[in-house]
């Protein structure tokens, strides 16, 4: 095929190869426009710190910790201004909602754990972060697949 002009058909390039090219290009764009892992890791650390210290830290410290969400939100806003804007999904994905609800439920259950000593606080921090990270990654993957499928199958 004349790659520079792109005219005519592509006998040498099979349809399967072209479909793979389209899949790769769409996956790259989906990855570029998704939330960065660093931001999600910071958000997870923030949630884990807040939840693991809520039974031992004074209210002032908890408020100070909660206020750290503001710079995180500003970073998020700055980041999204420079990224391609994702298209609204035509069909909602069940897996995404499932992991979201599972994460909420698991974090709600973890709140009943009253961590008072340093070891318990560390264990709770790790547990909350692990649950948050697991659900975030699954949600991220489910959303990426749904966005690719949507882009390839829905014209509107």
């Amino acid at each position: 095929m004349d790659e520079s002009t792109g005219s005519g058909q592509a006998p040498a390039q099979s349809a399967a190869e072209l479909l793979a090219l389209a899949d790769d290009a769409a996956a790259n764009m989906v990855r570029t426009s998704a939330a960065p892992r660093g931001l999600l890791a910071l958000l997870g650390a923030w949630v884990a710190t807040l939840l693991s210290l809520r039974h031992v830290a004074p209210p002032g410290l908890l408020i100070a910790l909660a206020s750290l969400l503001l710079p995180l939100a500003l970073w998020c806003l700055h980041h999204y201004r420079r990224r391609p804007r994702p298209r609204r999904l035509v069909e909602n994905d069940g897996a995404y909602a499932g992991y979201f609800l599972f994460g909420l439920l698991a974090l709600a259950v973890l709140q009943f754990w009253e961590a008072l000593g340093p070891i318990a606080i560390t264990a709770k921090w790790l547990s909350v972060f692990a649950v948050f990270w697991f659900c975030q990654q699954r949600m991220r993957r489910a959303l990426a697949l749904a966005r690719q499928k949507d882009a390839h199958e829905h014209a509107h």
Partner: protein, 101 residues
Amino acid sequence: MSTPTEPQGFDALIHAPIRLRICASLAPVQWAEFAQLRDLLGITDSVLSKHLRQLDAAGYLRAERFSRAGRSHTRLSLSAAGRAAYVGHLAALREITGATR
């Protein structure tokens, strides 16, 4: 743009690998900036511009110029016709390969 031997929805303009990748990159987003698309595809400004002009001439593309911090940017998106042509072309490719996804 299809011939009788090609499946319905086959679009010769989009069939070129670079233009297919441009459409595939723009399909999951509302818009992307020219520089982002160029970096993602790993091609030069001139090559990208040339293919964008061809897509634009067919009415498959929308380009919007704006300035931010004193610099000029171009925001690109697939038009409704472009999106429909892209989805139709992928369906035609799947038909050729016999894929059912």
